[in-house]
């Protein structure tokens, strides 16, 4: 199983213990995970994330057999299209973008172009709904959560688009999913890092209504405990416990390289 939602590097608003790739690899080993798609956490807060991508590639180079880069690309920045090409050349299965942190609205045209450009190169566009619970955010962390409207707009952009939406909870997932056509729904995958298990059983309800094939394994390490999504899977009720998440390889052409075994 591949963790599609891992990061390296420090977080600006609180201390995060050792957010380093060598530690991530040890964690993957301990948790029985094959590998991870890895973003560069500080880049989400850079005005120009391009230098962060160079840092990311350098950090991951010794671990390229386990850690695949997910560079950050800001689509309203000059040269963004060459960054997309560079990401593809680097073997990235996905690129990351952070429209709330960059002040890009839900119908921003450049985000739409980015989603299409990534998809045409076989890469997913990975979006982050939130890094932290709203109630603990730093006073300077005023970006707000990614909106459901923003995800719907990108999912409607075209057939080539593949989205991985991370850190969403049940209400947002439902709002997006049921606001899309059947074809558009197939373009969106959700990581399970922020979806609740029992007793409310949000994940089980989503499996029953939307289907497990729309969900992928993600942890949001190093911000959150890596044990959380597997615990949620382990606590699924009997009727959905045999369900299988989609493998990372199912997301997009460049996502090949991992299996999707569900709960242990």
């Amino acid at each position: 199983m591949i963790d599609v939602n891992a990061l390296v590097g420090p977080y600006p608003f609180r201390h995060v213990p050792h957010p380093d790739p060598e530690v991530l690899v040890r964690v993957l080993d301990r948790e029985g995970l094959e590998g991870a798609w890895v973003g560069h956490l500080p880049s989400a807060f850079y005005r120009d994330p391009t230098p962060g991508n160079a840092d990311l590639l350098a950090m991951l180079r010794p671990f390229r057999d386990r850690l695949r880069p997910a560079p950050t690309i800001r689509p309203d920045w000059p040269g963004w299209d060459s960054s997309v090409a560079a990401a593809a050349d680097a073997g990235a299965p996905a690129i990351r973008a952070y429209p709330p942190q960059w002040g890009l609205g839900p119908h921003d045209g450049s985000m739409r172009e980015l989603a299409l450009a990534a998809g045409e190169r076989g890469m997913a566009l990975l979006l982050t709904v939130r890094f932290e619970d709203l109630r603990q955010r730093h006073a300077m962390d005023a970006a707000g959560d990614l909106s459901a409207a923003a995800v719907r707009a990108l999912a409607r952009a075209g057939d080539a688009v593949r989205l991985v939406v991370t850190a969403a909870s049940r209400d947002m997932i439902e709002e997006v999913h049921w606001g899309l056509t059947d074809a558009e729904q197939q373009r969106v995958f959700w990581d399970i890092s922020w979806v609740w298990g029992p007793p409310e059983h949000h994940l089980a309800k989503l499996f029953r209504t939307i289907g497990p094939e729309r969900f992928v394994f993600g942890t949001q390490w190093p911000l959150r405990l890596v044990q959380t999504p597997r615990a949620t899977l382990d606590l699924l009720p009997d009727d959905v416990r045999p369900a299988r998440l989609s493998p990372a390889s199912a997301i997009c052409a460049a996502g090949d390289g991992g299996t999707g075994t569900v709960s242990g």
Binding site: P17, R135, G197, P198, E200, L223, L225, L235
Partner: protein, 294 residues
């Protein structure tokens, strides 16, 4: 009630485990699936390996009065339902009596009534700030009768939020210093707000323990709690998300804590905090697992 787990080992092992922060629903809480959610909690508890759920019901959860400002009638209805649940499942359930400190007389009567029928602690919501003088009579009763007080807390109060009187660790510390014989549980360090403010705020109040519950699973939170409060001041709990409770148990197992420290967080600290004999199945299970290891 749900069926017991089969022969499979619980996901969190066979050592005793007390959920110090659990909630149930009842027919007057305005949700059609209330019984199903209760069953789901018990089933998940069995699968995880929860020996006891120390639980409360918060009035009608907003159906006929606000969750954090429950009317006296709703408080009593919720306590009645919790009394009935605990009486029907004494092997798994223990009760905290919920009170609203704005109604002092009602609160004191309710504590008497429910403790006489088996409640082992007091649950305070966010009906009043934790350092408010209206909490003093309740803290006095808690101290005199040996009843731990579980207080809803927002970790670091930066502003007011709707529908509750926000209290943080510093507020609870002021109450705890006024009542050094009373024992308090600071609710859900993962339940919202900045826990890194909470730990130093209560570090010098040995009569405050912290429960680990809440949906928050920040890396570093458990490490900081252990470092600043010590494992003997932590209680495992789940609150509304048992998945994050299981994740925290698994994370504790890789923090490098001693077996004694982990046992303390799982159940022994709770056994010391609550009245002797509150958790007899823990004592029995502990003896059995110790024997199996020998």
């Amino acid at each position: 009630m749900s069926a017991r787990a089969g022969d499979d080992a619980p996901l969190a092992g066979r050592e005793p485990l007390v959920d110090a922060h659990a909630h149930f629903y009842h027919a007057e809480t305005g949700r059609a699936d209330w019984a199903e959610v209760n069953e789901a909690r018990l089933r998940a508890g069995d699968r995880i390996g929860v020996t006891y759920h120390v639980a409360s019901i918060l009035g009608t959860y907003g159906f006929s009065s606000p969750t954090y400002f429950p009317s006296p009638n709703d408080v009593s209805r919720g306590n009645d339902a919790m009394l009935a649940m605990a009486a029907a499942d004494p092997d798994r359930l223990r009760m905290m009596v919920t009170v609203n400190p704005n109604y002092t007389d009602h609160a004191l009567v309710e504590i008497d009534r429910c403790v006489a029928r088996g409640a082992i602690g007091i649950k305070l919501l966010a009906s009043r700030r934790a350092d408010d003088a209206l909490l003093d009579p309740i803290a006095d009763v808690a101290a005199n009768r040996g009843l731990p007080v579980l207080h809803h807390i927002w970790q670091h109060r930066r502003r007011e939020w709707p529908s509750q009187e926000i209290s943080d660790g510093a507020d609870l510390a002021r109450l705890a210093r006024r009542h050094p014989r009373a024992r308090f549980i600071l609710a859900h360090i993962g339940g919202g707000g900045d826990y890194s403010h909470t730990f130093p705020a209560i570090a010098d109040c040995p009569n405050i323990l912290a429960d680990l519950s809440g949906s928050g699973v920040d890396r570093g939170m458990l490490d900081a709690a252990v470092d600043m409060l010590g494992a003997d001041r932590l209680l495992w709990g789940a609150d509304l998300t048992m998945c994050t409770g299981l994740a925290k148990l698994r994370a504790l197992s890789v923090l490098g804590l001693s077996a004694d420290a982990i046992a303390g967080i799982r159940w022994r600290n709770a056994a010391r905090l609550f009245a002797p004999g509150s958790f007899p199945r823990c004592q029995a299970a502990s003896g059995a697992t110790a024997g199996a290891r020998a």
